[in-house]
C-alpha cells in the first residue's frame, strides 16, 4: 500500500465514522423526541440551555387555562379582556373557534383564573389545563388524567386493577376526555332526591335558570322561582337534597373535573338540573315523578337545552300516566336513562318501571362490578335491559360536602347519562334516536353480559365520542 493510498483509506474511514456518529445522534434525538411526546408539555417548552432555564422556571410557575369564547367575540374583545385581567393569550387552537390558551401573569391560582373567565358573558367555558399523556397500555392513544384528589378510587372511570379488579374494566373515560370533557351547553336533569347544589365539587356545574328563561309556571302553584330546578315534594324552587342519593348521582354525571379536589365526573363541564321528588328516605310517589318530568319538558319548551333525564329509581308498579309523560319527553328529544333495578331478577319476566317501558327514548341500565361482571344484585333482561355500566363501590359526592361509596343500578344509570352528555357536547343537534343508537353501538362486549342484556356490553365513553 502506498503512502497516498493510506491517506485515502484514513480519509474514508474518518468519513464513515462521522456518518455513523451523525446517524446514531439522529436516532438518539429521535428517541428523545419520542420520550418527550409521552408527556406532552402543553404548551410549555423543554429547557434546552442554561440561559433559558430561569425563564423556563418562571413559565413553569405560570398558570394556564383553556378558555373558549362565544361565537362573535372578536380578537379585539379577547385581547381587551386578557389585558384587563393582566393575562396573555399564549396560543390559539385554530380548529376550534374561539378556543384560546391563556396564561395568567399575576400569580393567581388556576381555579381563580377559571372562575374569572367563567363569569364573563363572552365566555362559553373555561377550564384548567390538564396534562395529556399517552396511555402506556394502549400506545399511541391519548388520554387525559384527572388531578382530582380521589380520582384513583374511581375505578368506573379508570380501572388499573386495584383491589382485585380487572384492569381496563371501566368506561375508558380518560381516552374520551382527550376528545371532549363535556360542555356547559348540555343540561342533564337529575330527577331524584334533589341535589346539594352547594357541594364544592358540583356547584360550578349546577344549572341556573338564565334570565331570558321565564320562571316556571305551575297551574296550582303559580310562578315558581326555579333558580336551580324544582322541588316537587315541597312544591317550591329549592331542590336541596335531604337524602344524598341525588347528590351521588349528580357527581357521577358531572362533578367538576381537574380541580384537584374530590372526584371527577364523567363530564368535567355540564349543567346538572336538580329535581327533588323523593324525600329524605329516598322514596317518592309516581305522581311526583310525573310532575318532575313535566317540569323538564316545560323547561325544554321554554328554551333550556335539557336533552337527558337521569332516573335512578323505580318500582314494579306500571303506570300508564308515567309512560305517557316519558313518551312526551321523547317527542321533545329527551333521552330517558333509567335504572334496571336491584332484585337480581329478569326484567323480561318481571318488568321494572320506568326502565321497562317500551319507548324509543328509554335506556335501561344494568350494573357491573370492577371485574366487568354483572353485579350480583343487578336486574337483567335480554330484551328489556339495554346497556350496563359500573355500579358497585362507586365513589361520588354526598351530603355535608362529603364523598361516599354506594352501589346499585342507581349508580350505573348516571354513568350512561353522563356519556350521553359527552356525545351531545360534540354533536349538540343529534336526535334522541341517534344518541340512543350511538350509546348502544359503542359498548364493549362483555362475556358475562352476553344473552343477559340486549347490547351484551358495558358502555365505553371513548368509543362513544370517537376517541378510538
Amino acid at each position: 500500500m502506498s503512502r497516498n493510498n493510506i491517506w485515502v483509506h484514513v480519509t474514508i474511514a474518518l468519513a464513515l465514522i462521522l456518518i455513523a456518529a451523525f446517524a446514531g445522534g439522529v436516532r438518539h434525538w429521535k428517541k428523545a423526541m419520542e420520550r418527550s411526546s409521552q408527556l406532552v408539555p402543553y404548551p410549555k417548552q423543554q429547557p434546552d440551555d442554561r440561559e433559558n432555564k430561569a425563564d423556563d422556571e418562571d413559565d413553569a410557575d405560570k398558570v394556564e387555562v383553556l378558555v373558549r369564547f362565544r361565537a362573535g367575540t372578536t380578537r379585539e374583545i379577547i385581547d381587551r379582556i386578557t389585558r384587563e385581567f393582566n393575562d396573555e393569550v399564549e396560543d390559539r387552537i385554530e380548529s376550534v373557534d374561539g378556543l384560546d390558551i391563556i396564561a395568567d401573569e399575576d400569580g393567581q391560582s388556576a381555579a381563580d383564573v377559571v372562575a374569572q373567565y367563567q363569569a364573563l358573558p363572552e365566555v362559553e367555558y373555561a377550564e384548567t389545563n390538564s396534562e395529556i399523556v399517552l396511555d402506556h397500555e394502549d400506545r399511541g392513544r391519548k388520554h387525559v388524567h384527572a388531578d382530582d384528589e380521589l380520582f384513583s378510587r374511581q375505578w368506573g372511570l379508570a380501572n388499573a386493577g386495584e383491589n382485585g379488579g380487572l384492569a381496563g374494566a371501566d368506561i375508558s373515560a380518560m381516552r374520551a376526555w382527550s376528545v371532549t370533557r363535556g360542555s356547559d351547553q348540555v343540561v342533564v336533569a337529575v330527577i331524584d332526591s334533589g341535589v346539594d347544589y352547594t357541594h364544592p365539587d358540583l356547584t360550578k356545574n349546577i344549572w341556573t335558570r338564565p334570565e331570558i328563561i321565564k320562571a316556571y309556571e305551575d297551574d296550582d302553584l303559580g310562578a315558581v322561582d326555579d333558580q336551580h330546578g324544582f322541588n316537587v315534594v315541597d312544591d317550591d324552587g329549592d331542590p336541596m337534597d335531604e337524602n344524598g342519593h341525588g347528590t351521588h348521582c349528580a357527581g357521577i354525571i358531572g362533578a367538576e373535573g381537574g380541580n384537584e379536589i374530590g372526584i371527577a365526573g364523567v363530564n368535567w363541564n355540564v349543567k346538572i338540573m336538580p329535581l327533588r321528588f323523593m324525600d329524605g328516605d329516598g322514596a317518592g310517589t309516581t305522581k311526583d315523578a310525573i310532575e318532575a318530568i313535566n317540569y323538564v319538558i316545560d323547561r325544554k319548551r321554554a328554551g333550556v337545552n335539557v336533552r337527558i333525564i337521569s332516573a335512578s329509581w323505580g318500582s314494579n308498579t306500571r303506570s300508564r300516566a308515567l309512560e305517557d309523560v316519558i313518551r312526551k319527553a321523547y317527542d321533545e328529544g329527551i333521552l330517558f336513562v333509567a335504572a334496571a333495578g336491584n332484585a337480581s331478577s329478569d326484567n323480561d319476566e318481571t318488568p321494572h318501571y320506568p326502565s321497562s317501558y317500551n319507548l324509543g327514548n328509554i335506556l335501561s341500565v344494568a350494573a357491573t362490578n370492577r371485574n366487568d361482571q354483572l353485579a350480583s344484585f343487578s336486574n337483567y333482561g335480554a330484551n328489556s335491559v339495554h346497556v350496563a355500566a359500573p355500579g358497585e363501590e362507586i365513589l361520588s359526592t354526598w351530603l355535608e360536602h362529603g364523598f361516599t361509596e354506594k352501589k346499585g343500578t342507581s349508580m350505573a344509570t348516571p354513568f350512561v347519562a353522563g356519556v350521553a352528555a359527552l356525545i351531545l357536547s360534540q354533536n349538540p343537534k343529534m336526535s334522541v334516536d341517534d344518541l340512543r343508537a350511538r350509546l348502544l353501538k359503542s359498548v364493549d362486549p362483555i362475556l358475562s353480559l352476553k344473552g343477559k342484556i340486549s347490547s351484551g356490553g358495558r358502555i365505553n365513553a371513548a368509543k362513544a365520542v370517537g376517541a378510538e
Binding site: G280, G282, A283, S312, G314, A339, A340, F377, G408, S410
Partner: protein, 97 residues
C-alpha cells in the same frame, strides 16, 4: 348502630302491638339480622311508590305474635312493615319519632 337497631326494634314492636291490639309483652322478637335491601324502600314499596335503586343496608326484624310471624324492615332512619295482610306499610320515620 346498636342503639339505632334497638330503637328500630322497640318502635316496630310498639307498632305491631297497636295494629294487633295486644300488649307489647305479647310480641316476641324472633330474629334480627343485618340485610342489604335492594332499594331505598327496603324492598317493601307502598302502592304507587318509587324509590332510589341503591343497595340499602338495614335490619330484618321478625316478630312472633300468637302463631304468626311478622316482618319489619328498618334502617337508621326508616321503618317498614312488610307484607302485612298483603300490604306494605311505612311506619312513621324513626328520625321523627
Amino acid at each position: 348502630m346498636p342503639e339505632q337497631k334497638d330503637e328500630a326494634v322497640d318502635r316496630a314492636r310498639r307498632d305491631l302491638a297497636q295494629r294487633l291490639g295486644m300488649s307489647e309483652s305479647d310480641v316476641a322478637v324472633k330474629s334480627v339480622e343485618p340485610v342489604d335491601f335492594p332499594d331505598a324502600a327496603l324492598g317493601a314499596p307502598l302502592e304507587d311508590e318509587m324509590s332510589a335503586q341503591v343497595i340499602t343496608p338495614g335490619w330484618r326484624i321478625i316478630f312472633k305474635a300468637g302463631e304468626t310471624n311478622y316482618e319489619y324492615r328498618a334502617t337508621a332512619r326508616q321503618l317498614r312493615l312488610f307484607n302485612f295482610n298483603g300490604e306494605n306499610y311505612r311506619v312513621q320515620a324513626l328520625t321523627e319519632s
